[in-house]
């Protein structure tokens, strides 16, 4: 892989706090190596800003290996930037060339208020999980792990949905700011397993109710969420969520 250096123009959203109106600021960054990660490029910029006595850009990040789900930049109109199945922290600068201009914004959704600059509040996701995204079992009760065999295909599918990292890119990409992909991934993960079966009706109803309460929009099947999901969660889960919801709403067993 050939390495090269580049100079770039960055247009970054700056907002002091949730009440501030916010605006774009333009920055020039020089000698950025194609081997750097996108966030390392921000580190370089922030070090310069601090040396110049300015306020560095605040953004969420932690593991920097694409699994914690903290990073959340909306880059040139796309959550997590141009690469498929990728998080911002795993985006590397060889995706860009000398002279490029890059526009970076926070996730934008009513349910994700901006805390500062590129950092948003995603605690709405925690509250949706609290509404039912679990299996109600206390510690110490379970039977032997191999007592209930699970079809490999089903287990693999449950795993594919459990791979959701809760980053919120699906919401950020959606014109309705819908959280349906996130909710459907959790509902599917648990509904596909025999352990999750006893609570599946309440789970679907309660998680959807909480999702609406948080101010996320409805789903109109555009598919933007699936296209940007770093973990490639399938939109077919939304169909499963709808059927879980209908089944729960139309059938009574109490």
């Amino acid at each position: 892989m050939e390495h090269y250096n580049m100079n770039l123009t960055l247009k970054v959203w700056r907002q002091k706090n949730k009440d501030d109106r916010g605006q774009f600021e333009t920055y020039q960054v020089k000698n950025i190596s194609s081997e750097m990660s996108f966030l390392e490029m921000f580190d370089v910029l922030n070090e310069e800003l601090i040396r110049d006595g300015k306020d560095p850009i605040t953004f969420d990040h932690d593991c920097r290996e694409g699994i914690c789900g903290a990073c959340s930049m909306y880059i040139d109109g796309r959550p997590h930037g141009p690469w498929q199945a990728n998080t911002t922290c795993q985006l590397h600068m060889r995706a860009y060339k000398d002279g490029d201009t890059i526009v970076v914004e926070p996730w934008r959704a009513q349910a994700f208020p901006v805390i500062k600059d590129l950092m948003v509040d995603r605690t709405a996701f925690d509250r949706i999980i609290q509404a039912g995204g679990y299996i109600s079992i206390n510690t110490g009760n379970p039977v032997d792990a191999n007592a209930i065999p699970i079809e490999k295909d089903k287990a693999d599918l449950a795993f594919a949905n459990a791979a959701c990292i809760g980053c919120g890119a699906c919401v950020a990409s959606c014109k309705n700011s819908s959280a349906m992909l996130f909710v459907s991934a959790k509902v599917s993960h648990l509904a596909l397993l025999p352990q999750g079966d006893p609570e599946r009706k309440d789970r679907a109803l309660n998680m959807i109710a909480q999702m609406d309460k948080e101010g996320f929009g409805g789903c109109t099947n555009t598919g933007a969420c699936e296209a940007v999901c770093p973990k490639e969660i399938s939109i077919s889960n939304i169909a499963r969520l709808n059927s879980e919801y209908l089944r729960a709403g139309f059938t009574v067993d109490k």
């Binding site: 892989m1 699994i67 795993q90 679990y134 299996i135 510690t139 792990a145 795993f159």
Partner: protein
């Protein structure tokens, strides 16, 4: 005098006896007892869920925006459990034995045996929560092997076992939040412990969004705050992973155990330049199928594909035929360093070795063709089938490698090099996981207890969940049973006031420096000192120099650091400055501990103490003890020794040949 409070009696009965005799708190009293938990990784989230279920009033704190993002999430390879599902000779005793041996006979037998005993319960618990472990076609759980063992006891979920286990614990925690048993404080950082009458009774935390300081009372405080690998600046830890909570506890009286025991993981993506902010691990599970090699010729500049088979040195297979590429981490790391230092390294930096999947692709490809009934398959078909198998097993790891390096590991061998990964050292705890401060507990990677001087792969997740789900729910009752008459102490108590004042003064002092150098630049310099002189190989002269350099760095930090912004706002640079200041102090203690331990053991390699073949040489006569350091004053510690007694396993020179 340090008392580890290991129960008397035969090893295999200790934990059962303890559980049968420890004090209990009745449910009506649990409702009135408050517990504070710092950190929401595997240890913290599982402890919070388990204690909430029991009926205690729990408060959890994490610096991330959600408890689900704690760094346990990044664990890749798997979790060990003595289930013996594979009928390959595994047992509780063997897991115990492997762990003690793997730790180079520097762990407590009692703790490790308990860990092995509860390991099977963890798997049951996780499956019941809906953790989607890998399965075989028959529907039962799948296993693989990991370094330092000869059985298949590792349960896994592709290359993201940590994420799946943490989501399981996080869901259990969120359920307790929904039930009102736990209150969660995200984006909060603990900045001090509050002690009243010698007991831990609360914390001072900073709300990272508003910058305000908060006081929280608890009958007991649990630190589940992970390891301190970021003292090296570059490590596989998350950017936010830090030692601050543990360090504050240390300064307030909790002894620090074996701070110099650091795990350098052999298979990480090499450093690419000065801009590097962190290192990425490639799971140890890759050593199941990958082969590690360097050219036989020094300074060989040819591409890997141009180096014929007979000119490759599969040095792990050569040196350790019994375990081959699956030797424990400390051994594999040192062997890689030895080859690179001797001039056999590969890649532009020459600080890398190859991890090659060509053989595995061939082997799996042939098996697949046989399974599919393809007779006399051509090379391309074999390769295609083999790649498909490797992809199914390790696909996400290979993708990650390609994203970072821009190279396709299905085509060319991966380049890897050791990197700081885990810290076996941590706050000293007794059998009940209590530190030397009554009422202050420490769980998971943050404590020192189970891994000795080297941790085996897939054992960190096991320990975090063992401590949280199955140990602390019993041991904390034994303490709290005597505390049922203690009413909640109002946070207007002078002890809270004094602690908050101290925290405020330190923040003001930091902000008032208004120097020229950034926090990051200090952290990088500290990391370089630590890596060069307290890293994979250590010697007396280097360590003495490091101590002087760190003391100098500390002076410079406190007189020239520049922190932008204000206090009462979201200010990540201030958060980082607080953490780096603590890392600097820890760095000095690590060097002092490494200097004191004039033997090699596990991850701690003193150049002065090695066998003729360059293996770590222990000195059991003089160093068969846990070094527990008591903080006295700035740059001054007193050493306390806990002698390690081995009643069952006989320490010997570790051999993987």
């Amino acid at each position: 005098m340090l008392n580890s409070r290991i129960p008397a009696g035969p090893l295999e009965n200790k934990w059962t006896d303890y559980k049968g005799h420890c004090k209990l708190v009745n449910p009506a009293n649990k409702r009135h007892i408050e517990i504070i938990i710092i950190g929401t990784g595997l240890a913290g989230a599982s402890a919070a869920a388990a204690l909430g279920e029991l009926g205690y009033k729990v408060k959890t704190f994490c610096f991330q925006d959600s408890p689900r993002r704690a760094h346990s999430i990044a664990a890749q390879g798997g979790i060990n459990a003595a289930k013996n599902y594979q009928n390959d000779g595994d047992s509780v005793f063997r897991l115990f034995y492997d762990t003690v041996k793997g730790g180079d006979y520097r762990a407590r037998e009692g703790n490790v045996h308990r860990l092995a005993e509860v390991s099977a319960n963890i798997i049951d618990q996780c499956v019941a929560q809906g953790v989607p472990f890998a399965r075989e076609y028959g529907g039962l759980l799948s296993n693989r092997s990991f370094g330092g063992t000869q059985v298949q006891r590792t349960f896994y979920a592709a290359g993201q076992t940590g994420q799946q286990l943490l989501i399981g614990a996080y869901q259990a925690l969120e359920r307790q939040i929904a039930l009102g048993n736990v209150i969660q404080y995200s984006r909060h950082e603990m900045l001090d412990i509050v002690k009243i009458d010698g007991k831990a009774r609360g914390i001072i935390a900073r709300n990272l969004v508003t910058g305000e300081l908060e006081r929280h009372f608890g009958h007991a405080v649990l630190l589940c705050t992970g390891g301190y690998g970021n003292v090296f600046y570059l490590s596989t830890n998350a950017m936010g992973s830090n030692v601050t909570a543990a360090w504050k506890a240390h300064v307030k009286g909790a002894y620090f155990g074996n701070p110099c025991y650091t795990q350098i993981h052999p298979t990480c993506i090499p450093v690419s330049g000065d801009h590097q902010s962190k290192l990425t691990l490639m799971s140890e599970s890759l050593r199941n199928d990958g082969r590690i090699w360097v050219p036989k010729k020094q300074g060989d500049a040819r591409k890997a594909s141009e180096i014929p088979e007979e000119e490759r040195d599969y040095y792990l297979e050569r040196r350790y035929p019994a375990f081959g590429n699956l030797v424990p981490r400390d051994v594999a790391s040192r062997a890689a360093k030895e080859r690179c230092d001797a001039g056999f390294g590969v890649g532009t930096s020459k600080q890398a070795v190859y991890l090659d999947y060509a053989d595995a692709i061939q082997r799996y490809g042939k098996i697949e063709c046989r399974k599919l009934g393809i007779n006399n398959p051509d090379a391309e078909t074999i390769r295609k089938q083999g790649v498909a198998v490797v992809k199914a097993k390790y696909g996400n790891l290979f993708d990650m490698y390609e994203k970072i390096t821009g190279e396709n590991p299905y085509e060319v061998p991966m380049r890897i090099y050791p990197a700081v990964h885990y810290t076996m050292g941590g706050l000293w705890v007794d059998y009940e996981l209590m530190t030397t401060v009554p009422g202050l507990y420490c769980l998971g990677e943050a404590n020192f207890s189970d891994h000795g001087a080297n941790r085996l792969g897939a054992s960190a997740l096991m320990q975090g969940l063992a401590d949280g789900y199955f140990v602390i729910p019993y041991t904390i009752g034994n303490y709290l049973a005597d505390d049922i008459r203690t009413k909640p102490i109002p946070t207007t108590d002078p002890a809270f006031e004094a602690a908050e004042k101290e925290v405020r003064a330190r923040i003001e002092r930091l902000m008032g420096i208004k120097g020229k150098q950034t926090v990051e630049s200090f952290h990088k310099r500290l990391g370089k000192i630590m890596w060069d002189k307290c890293g994979m190989a250590r010697n007396e002269k280097g360590l003495q120099e490091a101590i002087v350099e760190i003391q100098q760095l500390k002076k410079e930090f406190w007189s020239d650091v520049r922190i932008p912004g204000g206090v009462l706002e979201m200010n990540p640079e201030l958060d980082k400055a607080n953490r780096v200041a603590d890392f600097i102090e820890l760095g000095e203690l690590m060097c002092k501990d490494a200097l004191n331990r004039r033997e090699s053991c596990g991850g701690h390699f003193r150049e002065e103490s090695q066998t003729e073949e360059g293996e770590a040489m222990r000195d059991d006569n003089n160093f068969q003890y846990v070094a527990a350091w008591e903080f006295k004053s700035d740059s001054s510690w007193e050493l306390h020794k806990e002698t390690l007694e081995f009643e069952v396993v006989k320490p010997s020179q570790r051999s993987y040949k």
